[in-house]
Symmetry: C2
Subunit: 279 residues, 2 copies
């Protein structure tokens, strides 16, 4: 039986675009909510998961960082997907017939210039970008369009009337590929591949505590690619830190940095070590 | 004439709740988009602005950090608003009459337990939480409800049928009060008030560069309350850093730290210095 990749959203969602890059041999398995995605893989009901972790316009998806701490899954890969919105309609529907355009409100808001240039289209909020294409096709609407990915048009047999109608081309979402932890020994780095390691840690809320924790990386010339603080739930003045840096856990410098971090942090955990993706 | 506070959303949006705390003597002035809010105040058409900057579940609002760099406005205050969702209906409409419940998809998704417990309510996506209450009242719907703030119910004369139906009580949004830069000399700190200073800076993408920049704060025992990296647009491996720390720009330690940061950073800017809010 073909293995499955769980993701949140309808078939054709941007998470499925990411899944086709990170897990091309797996069948897409859409679920309603992120916690269902984590749970399905953690319990072994599905094989791997693909989840969004941050977006260049909207920031980190803290809900998924919470799930990474709660569920015992490991990051095995990352990819960046450019969010390209398209005007989509059922086959045979002409642009002049369209009165309403359905999509998720976030997507509608990311196409403001398009709606200003086309005042005859009424913005109509819907649950989901891909779901709006599915609905158009199922209901056989002839006076409506949708805004979604090209993948959604392909899946539901709809047609793209106008490509790339988003305001901002610098809109990227970063996705993680997650698997259950492997019982066998951690993989060795492959020569020529640049690896990234993601860690989460907490330090006591005293001045300089974070600075000392970061010295674990700086003293070994490890290059951080992300740092973010987040207040701990119920403890408004204590913080979690998310750090990504270039390095493989089997490299001596990385191993020493993690040993040093263990001395300095109250809690720490490696979320994964995986090939770094370019954008 | 009464002065105005600009915010994004309909009357009754959570931004208006924040505005009533940060600018209680100002008339609320709703606008459609964040850039309109910044522009109206920067050009002097409206007096002050209140904008969301981060949320405990959804992360930082990077769009507004971009606007803070683009427009010459200064942060004068912060507040945390707990996002409380309520089931709201027009007066006289009973719970048993309700078939559909309108709200923004993000709000609908934050009330999953409520919908699981009430399978007779159909989740219906709408542009805006407060806008859904406005629509119910204007259209005189008798078979529908909305999910929005208590403020929205009050403004549109609707009634709260059930309070606090959100899944997660740790859902807070942090808002900033923005004003045009003052020409007169910066205010002195008031004794007994704890101040926060927000800075943004870039450092060259070499290992240890951020660590050295943070030494400006750590060497002076300044306590950071937020740090976040963000890739620079069009330069995927260069980063902006947002740092908040406890201190007033007129304190010697803070002034020295900013002087030191100026040596170490390629670009830096103080976004504001304001009384710190508790959550």
């Amino acid at each position: 039986m073909k293995r499955s990749v769980a993701f949140q959203g309808e078939l054709g969602a941007f998470s499925q675009v990411a899944a086709s890059q990170l897990a091309p041999d797996y069948s897409p398995f859409p679920l309603n909510a992120f916690d269902q995605v984590f749970e399905a893989v953690a319990k072994g009901n599905l094989d791997v998961a693909v989840i969004p972790i941050e977006n260049t316009l909207h920031g980190s998806v803290h809900e998924n960082y919470d799930h990474l701490l709660k569920y015992d899954l490991t990051i095995h890969g990352e990819t960046f997907v450019r969010i390209v919105h398209n005007l989509i309609a059922p086959p045979g529907v002409k642009r002049a017939q369209i009165k309403r355009v359905y999509s998720h409100p976030v997507a509608l808001n990311q196409c403001r210039h398009f709606f200003e240039a086309n005042p005859g289209f009424e913005k109509t909020p819907f649950y989901d970008t891909a779901g709006s294409v599915k609905m158009l096709m199922e209901d056989g609407l002839t006076d409506a369009g949708a805004i979604a990915s090209a993948t959604a048009a392909g899946i539901y047999g709809a047609r793209i009337l106008q490509k790339s109608i988003e305001d901002d081309r610098e809109n990227y979402t970063r996705f993680f590929l997650l698997k259950r932890p492997q019982t066998r020994k951690a993989a060795r780095p492959v020569a020529g591949i640049r690896y990234k390691t993601s860690v989460v840690f907490t330090v006591r809320n005293i001045p300089g505590a974070l600075f000392r924790a970061l010295s674990a990386f700086a003293l070994r010339d490890l290059n951080m690619t992300k740092i973010e603080s987040r207040p701990l739930r119920g403890k408004p003045w204590d913080y979690l830190f998310y750090v990504d840096f270039i390095g493989h856990t089997a490299d001596p410098a990385t191993a020493h940095a993690l040993g040093h971090l263990a001395e300095l942090a109250d809690m720490w955990r490696v979320l994964g070590c995986y090939p770094a993706a370019g954008k």
